[in-house]
Symmetry: C2
Subunit: 204 residues, 2 copies
């Protein structure tokens, strides 16, 4: 495709590097920016420019933050003795959305994945151990994806944290709320039968 | 949704103003930018910032351009006597893609649409008339969308350009190539019967 302007071409190229945005969508977006008010482009340009270069990460939990220590770690209303271990800061956002967890987080920065060359030394496990000691942690809630990598990482963590004599817990697996039995995969259904819970205990 | 960082929130807000991108997609894009190399964000920020503020429009045809006069108007290999009238610079790109038109363009900047308060005075018709005289134009090819607004504008143009004794032509309408008769709407099918052409004349 030939573009009538170098500026347009550059914008299309830059936009089409975003995931899920191909050349055609990128062109549509660029033409939208050209047609709309100047502040739409200016705000977008500023926000994108600052996002990557000015973003800070909490020195304690590695979550995204505007300050040295993130809002959650700095909050006096969060319980100190329990840390929820997650892979990514997206998981922090997902769990925060539920409003069901009142402790603090620890972002590992990934999952153990030998296929991708990610060993335990690339994750922030040393920092987690330090926090367990410093913050007198009693419980670690492991909230990792129900995938091979998530399970491997959870298993590794459980082994490695054994000496600290903590309560280790993990988020429950099972049929999603609103999910229909006949469409559930057999592994999930099988596990949710294995790990059945007393009727009435799940708050419905 | 609560964001862990003001910077992230601003980026999500700015991205979600783009058409077809909601909050969730905007968040996904922002997180992608955070994870990827710094130059992805920097290039995007620069390209978007410059696109709107530095874009020029050809003084002759109003197409997007990097210079005073656009590449097409400045090219010595384009025929001078025929101007293709389009609504938008996107249409120029679409027609250029076909490589079937060798004249120059004139971008009207919209279509007559009383419903949206767009009258002929808001379109660049005066400039077109000036070009017809100055450039000794013999043919005007009207390439507007096959909509109510397109047809109205074409009709208006035909009336207004009558005094210049030009050849007025319009792009042909009919069944799209590869289109199946049974799925064609009756209006298109009806018109393509009305405006039937000698067998063999359409280059197949």
């Amino acid at each position: 495709m030939e573009y009538p302007s170098k500026l347009l071409e550059e914008a299309v190229m830059a936009l089409s590097r975003l995931p899920g945005i191909g050349r055609k969508s990128a062109l549509r977006l660029a033409l939208f920016l050209l047609r709309s008010d100047a502040d739409v482009s200016r705000d977008l340009s500023n926000a994108v420019g600052r996002l990557r270069s000015e973003m800070k990460y909490c020195v304690r939990c590695s979550n995204m933050s505007d300050e040295e220590v993130c809002r959650i770690c700095a909050s006096s209303s969060r319980r100190r003795g329990i840390i929820c271990v997650v892979a990514d800061f997206r998981d922090v956002m997902a769990i925060e959305q539920t409003r069901q967890f009142t402790g603090t987080y620890h972002v590992l920065g990934g999952l153990i994945s030998p296929m991708d060359g990610v060993g335990p030394e690339k994750l922030r496990i040393d920092q987690l151990e330090r926090r367990i000691v410093e913050e007198h942690v009693q419980e670690i809630l492991i909230a990792l994806s129900a995938t091979m990598e998530g399970d491997t990482t959870a298993f590794y963590l459980a082994k490695r944290l054994e000496p600290y004599k903590l309560t280790l817990s993990t988020i429950s697996r099972g049929i999603a709320i609103g999910g229909e039995l006949e469409y559930a995969d057999e592994l999930t259904l099988g596990r949710s039968i294995q790990h059945r819970v007393p009727f009435g205990s799940q708050g419905y």
